[in-house]
């Protein structure tokens, strides 16, 4: 069969049940059909317990589906390709990843991944340097320091660098900015945007709808283990009512547009980024000759 564009990740009728066959069994995911193409920037949103974190652990074979399959570049994970192979290509950053730091120096910690890949010493330190620069931490300033004495935001970036040093094609992050202050959030999101611009596929889970609206190119909404929406941010967030029903917020930009159109403004409520929203509001004001 000819297949010209093989998706990076494909989930086919994927389902996952924790502890099947015991009284504690619980179905975390059901009937997930999804494909992630090379170069995408996708946000997964959903209330706590909707299955987001469980789903992303299928992307690098940390979890094996109990129904259906997860496929990496046409090969079923765990059948045609070993999870260890997939983990070289798909980097996964857990929530609060700074809690996985363990080495005495930043450079050593970032080197952990490449060393596991069996690279030579020289290559390992090259990769560590490169990865630190990618997250915007100067190698010269940070390499020799203990990761435990850095600020929360810096620790987070070191942990992300630790995964980037494996040179994955795709980076999957579970709530990469949670708990960070405004400055820390901005640094992490800037880093992800730049990585994506250079061609890396980025998938992130987030509870911050403003952040999703501003950065993601595609939004997948999960509720009770199923996908409820999958589309561009404008289309997804225009479903404000449904999102609120499942316990999600909407971005301030969407809220503004929805409220304005409720007050008689002629607006397309499908815009989400700050710039688009400002343009829409200005145009609407011009239409009423108030600007």
């Amino acid at each position: 069969m000819l297949n010209f564009s093989i998706a990076l990740i494909e989930c086919i009728d994927l389902g996952f049940t924790y502890m099947p066959g015991t009284p504690l069994t619980s179905e975390a995911l059901k009937n997930i059909n999804l494909s992630v193409e090379e170069g995408e920037f996708i946000a997964f949103i959903g209330p706590t317990g909707s299955g987001k974190s469980t789903l992303i652990q299928h992307f690098n074979g940390l979890l094996t589906p109990t129904e259906g399959k997860a496929v990496f570049k046409g090969k079923q994970i765990g059948v045609n390709i070993h999870p260890y192979e997939v983990r070289r290509e798909v980097g996964l950053v857990f929530q609060f990843p700074e809690s996985q730091l363990f080495e005495e120096t930043v450079a050593e910690d970032v080197s952990f991944g490449p060393r596991n890949l069996g690279l030579s010493g020289e290559e390992v330190s090259e990769r560590a340097e490169e990865a630190l620069e990618l997250v915007g931490l100067s190698y010269d300033r940070f390499a020799g320091r203990s990761p435990f004495e850095l600020s929360g935001g810096e620790q987070r970036l070191v942990a992300i660098a630790g995964v980037l040093a494996m040179k994955p094609r795709m980076l999957v992050l579970d709530e990469p900015t949670s708990g960070l202050d405004a400055r820390g959030k901005a640094r992490v999101m800037r880093c992800l945007t730049e990585l994506n611009r250079d061609g890396m596929t980025i998938v992130f889970v987030s509870h911050d709808m403003d952040e999703v609206a501003e950065f993601a190119h595609r939004v997948v909404v999960l509720d009770k283990g199923r996908i409820v929406f999958d589309g561009d941010p404008g289309t997804v967030f225009s479903q404000a009512g449904v999102l609120k029903n499942i316990g999600l917020n909407i971005p301030a930009t969407t809220e503004l547009l929805v409220k304005l159109s409720g007050r008689g403004f002629d607006l397309d409520t499908g815009a989400v980024s700050l710039r688009e929203t400002v343009n829409l509001v200005c145009n609407a004001l011009k239409g009423e000759q108030r600007l």
Binding site: T48, A182, A252, L256, K259, R275, C282
Partner: protein, 272 residues
């Protein structure tokens, strides 16, 4: 009334000495809802720990209803006057059931068993957790765990409650639960709430905002006044409320708007 008089606090020793609080003077009156806003490392958690005597100033003094937190004899009085809810929901429930955790504080204060039971009922009702008294804490959601922590403080009958980044590890629903709890306690019980946060949109809800940077108070006033100069706030690593950012962009695009908009609703009103 809580008074901080020229409070300075240093971590570490000699060469590695770090000044976490630098000559902070503040007065917090009864019944206020104060937000302390600051970036990571601005000293806001150090400030929180001074209010109930977990930390004692290196210089200056902290007075809670006139009692100095440095007075070892009165420390337990201070601890019962000022409750504190910490950041990590998992690390502040001590007992293996909700009611036993709420009982912990009153037990330490030597309250009689019958009185403890009635305090537990009151405190859990105040945070809408009355039905969870017998539950095991690890089966609760983050927001519920934090509300148990609030109840555990309330059972000590405090006048002041400090929320030390109590929302920062919660999802939006959990954060909303805590914010709603703060407002309810202030309204129903007249509790004075001090909410420590790095989230501008949460600070907007307070009556008064104190901005910390580098261990010093840089701004102090009502939210509308504080957020009128968002550039100054950005400079100290504190973001602006989201609606304020949109308003700012609209102003730049030529729309005439007041510089005091903090919420989406205010923005909608101004535009209509």
């Amino acid at each position: 009334m809580i008074q901080l008089k020229n409070v300075t606090y240093h971590y570490g020793k000699d060469k590695k000495k770090i000044t976490a609080l630098d000559d902070v003077s503040l007065t917090i009156k009864e019944g206020e809802f104060v937000a302390v806003l600051g970036a990571n490392g601005s000293g806001k958690s150090t400030l929180a720990r001074h209010i109930n005597g977990l930390l004692i100033p290196s210089k200056g003094e902290v007075l809670v209803d006139g009692i100095s937190t440095a007075d070892r004899e009165e420390l337990w009085k201070v601890r019962s006057l000022v409750g504190i809810v910490f950041q990590n929901p998992d690390n502040q429930i001590i007992a293996t059931s909700v009611e036993d955790d709420v009982a912990f504080g009153p037990e330490n204060l030597g309250v009689e068993p019958d009185e403890i039971r009635s305090r537990i009922r009151e405190a859990l009702a105040a945070v809408d957790m009355a039905d969870y008294a017998k539950r095991e804490p690890h089966l609760l959601s983050g927001g519920q765990k934090q509300r148990v922590a609030v109840a555990a403080s309330l059972a000590m009958h405090p006048k002041y409650l400090v929320f030390d980044e109590a929302t920062s590890m919660l999802d939006p629903r959990g954060s909303a639960e805590i914010i709603a709890t703060i407002k309810k306690l202030k309204g129903d019980l007249g509790i004075t709430a001090i909410h420590i946060t790095h989230i501008a949109d949460e600070a907007v809800l307070a009556d008064r905002v104190i901005v910390l940077s580098g261990g010093a108070v840089v701004r102090d006033g009502p939210p509308h006044a504080i957020f009128s100069d968002i550039r100054a706030l950005m400079a100290v690593g504190v973001g602006a409320p989201r609606a304020r950012l949109i308003a700012e962009e609209l102003i730049r695009a030529g729309v005439k708007l007041p510089g005091t908009i903090l919420t989406v609703d205010e923005l909608v009103e101004a535009l209509c």
